[in-house]
């Protein structure tokens, strides 16, 4: 089920990027797409009844049923990269606003 939710988020993000005409809304759509993707990555490693892949005094040995830790590590990297792109996108949005006085692509008077 979770995988379908992730795919729906990816579709929503894609739809937003294609249709929105506001720079900030496009960045938000991009973030929705990335969140959907991250959710999908985590879902790929899920095991029914699996434990978080951390050894603790309760879950002390490696014979236990852990979920796949690798997708979680990948998601960590993907999130940070997403943060970097978003920060940069917002900074570019600010320079766009400084130049055109609007965030709306239709009101800028050039392509």
């Amino acid at each position: 089920m979770l995988q379908y939710a992730a795919i729906v988020l990816i579709m929503l993000g894609l739809y937003g990027i294609l249709t929105k005409r506001n720079v900030i809304k496009i960045i938000v759509s991009l973030n929705i797409l990335e969140i959907g993707l991250n959710l999908f990555i985590v879902s790929v490693g899920f095991v029914d009844g699996g434990l978080a892949p951390i050894f603790t005094s309760q879950n002390a040995t490696n014979d236990l049923n852990f979920v796949d830790p690798l997708p979680q590590a990948l998601v960590l990297t993907a999130i940070v990269i997403g943060v970097g792109t978003t920060a940069l996108g917002l900074a570019i949005a600010k320079t766009i606003y400084a130049k055109y006085g609007t965030f709306n692509l239709d009101e800028m008077g050039e392509k």
Binding site: L30, E34, F40, V44, A78, G84, G89, I96
Partner: protein, 460 residues
Amino acid sequence: MSAILLIVIPLLAAFLSILVKKYSANILLVVSFASVVLLNYIPLEVITIGGFAAPYGINLILDQYSLIALYAVNVLFFLVVAINCAKFKKLSSILLVALAGLNGMILTGDLFNLFVFMEVSGIAAYLMTTTNQKPLATFNYLVQGTVGSSLYLLGLILLYAMFGTLNMQDMAFQISSSGYHIAVTAFPFLLMFIGFGVEAKLLPFNSWVQGILGSSNRLTGPMIASVYAAAIGFVLGRLLTELFVFEGTLLLIVTAILGFSIVAGEAMAFGAKKVREILLFSSIAQAALVALVFLSGFTGLAALLLIANTAGKLILFLITNTATDQLGNDDISTLQGLFVNNKVVGVSFTVAVLNVLGLPMFFGFVLKMNILLEFFQTDHLLWPAVILIVSVVEGIYFIRLLLKLWFKESDLPQVEFEFTLKYVVVVVAALLILFGVYTAPVEQAADDLTAIQYIEGGNL
């Protein structure tokens, strides 16, 4: 000497350079030159990082193929930087990161690590293009680049879910030994190919190119059209030969995309009225052609064709963008007669154009002829026909452009080309002629590259 230094030294220099802003341009120049020198001293090997062997850890692959790619990218990068570093001092740290990212992209043997380096060099590229003063085009580039790499990541994760590995070679091995029908990997491969297609300028995923290259300056034009194009082309080539398995419908889709890119790119270049637009549309067509040759399995020739094209594009974009900076726009009518007073630059420009066209006596000719011969041998008659026809179209618009640039009676445009730029373009042009006349090493290199023992799987 380990190839890891090619990534680590620029990174370390980037981290340190933000403290000594005054000298950051010098650091950039020294480091990019040091990378070129360092290339001569590194042995061919597979480098394990962190002491964990592949597929558990990340490895870097330095074989003949990546060595040639590194030479091309580092030399081109150094040339672009040498001409521009004084003017774009603010970008020095970012350019250092870009160098690390490009080298990492070429070297890495891990598919997720490739995604990371793609983002590193991608973000550096977005930042460079802000110097075009077209924030909207940069924003467009950023959105498309991010969507592209997200598609790549989605494809990669689907592959991981099926085969449980991220290492490129291990992935190819698992796929070929799993016994599953080829269709299970079709969709992930298509996603990854499209994701790369955005960066590699393949139609119809490349609407950022016009905004970026159409208003590029002396740094971004050569950097994106030449250095980045070379790096992305080589990585795409490695994926096409070592990992992707395209068969049946998928092969049809991919070839259709490539064929469409070639034909449409040339057609748009034919109709373009500005010099930079002609160059950027023709580079779209050439990127697709290189990918097509990789796809057909002629790895060595494709790699050399990529080098010939990107070296040519370096000259073309450098000269055009210098003239545009000084004249204000790049309409053909404005630049008409540019070379009447600048004969040296004009000859280099002409050599680069003729090389891209593939006329005899130039590097590009040797390659195009060999590619055609290879195609004839495999009884694929469609592609040679397409290549020949688009070459004619290319010939018409490029010769038309050259005639305009060389001949004008009066009212000549006044453009100053400084010595460094002249020196660089003449040397590169001389090399293009040298390898066009003295063909033996080229053919040898192409054979060597093709003869590499590829692992099981992939297209070969």
